[in-house]
């Protein structure tokens, strides 16, 4: 049975408008205007996930300029990716990538032309750090 009680109806109207405004406009404080308020929730799921992820690709450049990917696990003597230590599997920065590149040069011989492509995840997409500019075995 529908209520006719004025107080209940006005109470419902007040609570509804208040909560609806909080639910709809609450996230806008930070997501639209940039004000970080403790009690207003934002809906930015997975916003920070994957940021800083580092990707390294090692390529062997032939004398005619063509490049082919190097399987670093096989070249460094591991049976597979699972066999390799974490420091070889998970490359976290440029220094670590350069150190692996040096080990690849040692294995492939100093005549080899190893190029390194690295990038880092940011909110705007990928930030390139190295794009195979130099032969790392010559350094």
């Amino acid at each position: 049975m529908k209520t006719n009680h004025r107080l209940i109806i006005y109470g419902r109207i007040g609570v509804f408008i208040l909560l609806a405004s909080f639910i709809v406009l609450g996230p806008s404080a930070q997501q639209l205007f940039g004000y970080k308020l403790k009690y207003l929730r934002t809906w930015r799921m997975y916003q920070g996930r994957g940021l800083g992820v580092f990707v390294a690709e090692f390529l062997l450049q032939h004398s005619n300029g063509t490049q082919m990917p190097i399987d670093r696990f096989k070249v460094l003597g591991y049976y597979s990716r699972r066999d390799a230590p974490r420091s070889v599997v998970q490359i976290e920065n440029q220094q670590q990538a350069l150190s692996i590149a040096r080990r690849l040069c040692q294995r492939l011989g100093q005549e080899a032309d190893v190029r390194l492509y690295t990038r880092k995840a940011s909110r705007r997409g990928w930030e390139w750090i190295a794009q195979g500019e130099t032969n790392l075995c010559e350094q």
Binding site: R12, Q47, V55, V89, I91, G125
Partner: protein, 298 residues
């Protein structure tokens, strides 16, 4: 002439205003319907609350008076809520417990930021909003007791009908999760597929860029479709004629997220809450059908 024109505009504005306020009153504030969907959500939410919070509130974790009292209060209130005994009070009590856990007790119990995650906030918010609904009028001990009382006193059996204005707030909460979630993704970093690539690489491939053909294109397509779907769900879940295919699509979307990413109770909570968009009387009839009850008996 000018005055006549002005008064006609004024009359039209008044008519529009009256139609809007009448619509607001009839379709929101005074809206009544079956309480079965909201009761099903109440029961489902309790299981989700236990799945999320129970293990951290067991007394042997940190046997202090603070933890024991917080845990006891949580388990008692949720048990009453599940059984549907003093349901609205039990739901409000559970909501209070959750606000306490979210704002104060969480960091003390588990350290760091405590329970301040999106999926926990969603549970807190929905439980508090549930306390404003007659969620104990169906599938509850309260209902059994009301039926017995009516039979004993030879009164008409109480109907499973109640004011549903607060259920619209639950629907609004779900829509806003999608809307602001999509809004946050509306930037080139996400729409280009790069952020999807970051997720995939951080969870699945370490620091190697996946070598399978079309990976980049697949991530781009996933990013665009995610944003389009989220904006679409925020708006069109309210439109009855789209629900038939949009709700299964939304459930599929949530289940893919649940299977591929660590989202805790988030996806399952969202799946449960899709019930709120369906016409409550349709849910009521479906439950009758499921139980083999003919409309006469209800």
């Amino acid at each position: 002439m000018k005055t006549e024109k002005n008064s006609s505009i004024l009359d039209k504005s008044k008519a529009v205003y009256q139609t809007l306020t009448q619509g607001f009153m009839d379709n929101i504030i005074l809206w009544e319907g079956s309480t079965r969907p909201i009761a099903l959500i109440r029961i489902g939410i309790v299981f989700l609350l236990w799945a999320r919070f129970a293990s951290e509130l067991l007394p042997f974790n940190k046997p202090t008076l603070f933890l024991v009292l917080t845990g006891l209060s949580f388990f008692l209130s949720t048990l009453l809520m599940l059984l549907g005994f003093w349901t609205q009070f039990a739901t409000a009590w559970t909501g209070t417990n959750l606000v306490w856990l979210y704002l104060v007790a969480g960091p003390i119990l588990i350290g760091g930021t405590g329970f301040k995650h999106h999926h926990t906030y969603l549970l807190v918010s929905i439980t508090c909003l549930l306390a404003l609904t007659p969620c104990g009028r169906s599938y509850s001990l309260d209902r059994v007791l009301a039926l017995r009382k009516a039979k004993k006193q030879n009164l008409l059996l109480p109907l499973e009908i109640g004011p549903l204005w607060a259920t619209l707030l639950i629907g609004l909460q779900v829509s806003m999760v999608y809307f602001w979630g999509a809004f946050d993704k509306t930037n080139w970093g996400f729409l280009s597929g790069s952020r999807m690539e970051h997720y995939y690489i951080s969870f699945y491939s370490g620091s190697d860029y996946p070598s399978f053909p079309g990976f980049s294109l697949l991530m781009f397509a996933l990013a665009i479709s995610t944003v389009v779907l989220e904006y679409g769900l925020a708006i069109f879940l309210w439109v009855e004629r789209f629900q038939k295919w949009l709700i299964p699509l939304a459930i599929g979307f949530q289940l893919v997220i649940y299977y591929t990413l660590p989202v805790s109770t988030f996806s399952l909570t969202m799946c449960l809450l899709f019930l709120i968009y369906i016409d409550p009387d349709k849910v009521h009839r479906f439950m009758d059908e499921l139980q083999g009850v003919t409309p006469k008996e209800t």
